[in-house]
């Protein structure tokens, strides 16, 4: 799908409060909590579904358009 814009999951770490909602609903285990903050642990696996951004209460994770 060459036309589809590439998006990259991006973390605004200072705003993350470590609730774990994004980690729980990520269907591909891209994310993990480390030291109370979200970490991208498997970027390759990300399917850019946006489940993390949709439910992040702190606007700390989103899909950035490249």
């Amino acid at each position: 799908m060459p036309d589809k814009k590439e998006k990259i999951v991006t973390v605004e770490k200072e705003w993350c409060k470590g609730c774990g909602i994004c980690v729980a609903y990520c269907p591909k285990s891209v994310l993990a909590l480390q030291d109370g903050k979200v970490e991208i642990v498997d970027l390759e696996a990300c399917i850019q579904c946006g489940q993390c951004e949709l439910r992040c209460p702190d606007y700390a994770i989103y899909l950035r358009e490249e």
């Binding site: 991006t10 774990g20 909602i21 949709l54 439910r55 209460p57 702190d58 899909l63």
Partner: protein, 273 residues
């Protein structure tokens, strides 16, 4: 750097917000902003009004005309704003206690007038700002700091209340089903009349802890597993509704809108004069 949506609609200098880790209020606020974005509303013509409580701190983070008022009175202030300048898109952000306890009278009368205001209730089933007392939407039997043995009060169904009082658009959503919530808010803003959207939120800090509902993820998953869409709900036998609740668009009718009626009155008087 935050997302484009956040950059465009939030006062990012005031972020991060004051809400606790895992609080659903941020999710509802984002759904509301997404709805405004989807509709392409002019930010200068949007006025967001709130009362007092956790949810009511939301307008301070939003880049519109914003009015953080007194406890329970958001709808009364908003009624003044809308009446005085009907050109404004007026959105009220309120909580379960703010809207249905101390502000219950303003809620039923705003519904009755069918004034063109979209109200989004962040329902977290508790008074979070004061530390977790039971509210009019705390389920009977659940605990709060003022219901240490379990709440003996029956609880309100806010959507039924709004429908009965005359709101022309009523919907319920959850912080799990945030996309659907956004769609309901869009429909609510588009409705020419009083729109009432109950957003089932989560308070892991007080309500969750006090009632052993688990962490933010557990509470969000609870909303996922127990919310049933209106279409499916209507086909469900009564016994299967036990412990579940309905979400989606619950009520939508056409009724004369208040400020339009008043403007007609002005026009007729001026024609006579």
């Amino acid at each position: 750097m935050p997302s484009e949506l956040v950059k465009n609609y939030f006062r990012t200098q005031n972020l991060p917000h004051i809400w606790c880790p895992g609080c659903g209020n941020g999710i509802v606020t984002r759904a509301l902003v997404k709805a405004v974005d989807s509709l392409g509303l002019d930010k200068d013509k949007v006025c967001v009004v709130s009362g007092i409580g956790c949810s009511s701190r939301a307008p301070g983070y939003l880049d519109f005309n914003t009015l953080h008022t007194t406890h329970g009175r958001a709808l009364a202030f908003a009624t003044g704003v809308k009446m005085a300048n009907p050109e404004l898109k007026v959105i009220v952000i309120t909580g379960d206690g703010d809207s249905s306890a101390i502000g219950g009278n303003h809620l039923i009368h705003a519904c009755r007038r069918n004034i063109d205001i979209t109200t989004v209730v962040f329902n977290n089933n508790t008074y979070g700002m004061t530390g977790g007392q039971f509210s009019p939407t705390t389920p009977t039997g659940d605990k709060g700091t003022t219901a240490p043995y379990g709440n003996v009060d029956p609880n309100f169904d806010l959507c039924n209340l709004a429908t009965a009082a005359g709101a022309s658009y009523v919907a319920r959503g959850t912080v799990f089903a945030a996309n659907q919530l956004e769609k309901n808010i869009i429909a609510g803003i588009q409705n020419k009349g009083f729109s009432f959207i109950e957003a089932m939120s989560t308070c892991p800090t007080y309500y969750g802890r006090k009632n052993r509902k688990g962490n933010a993820v557990d509470m969000t998953t609870y909303l996922k597993e127990n919310a049933i869409n209106k279409v499916a709900w209507d086909k469900l036998p009564e016994e299967k509704k036990e412990g579940k609740f309905v979400i989606g668009e619950l009520h939508s009718i056409e009724r004369p809108e208040y400020t339009e009626q008043y403007d007609k009155l002005i026009a007729s008087l001026r024609k006579e004069g």
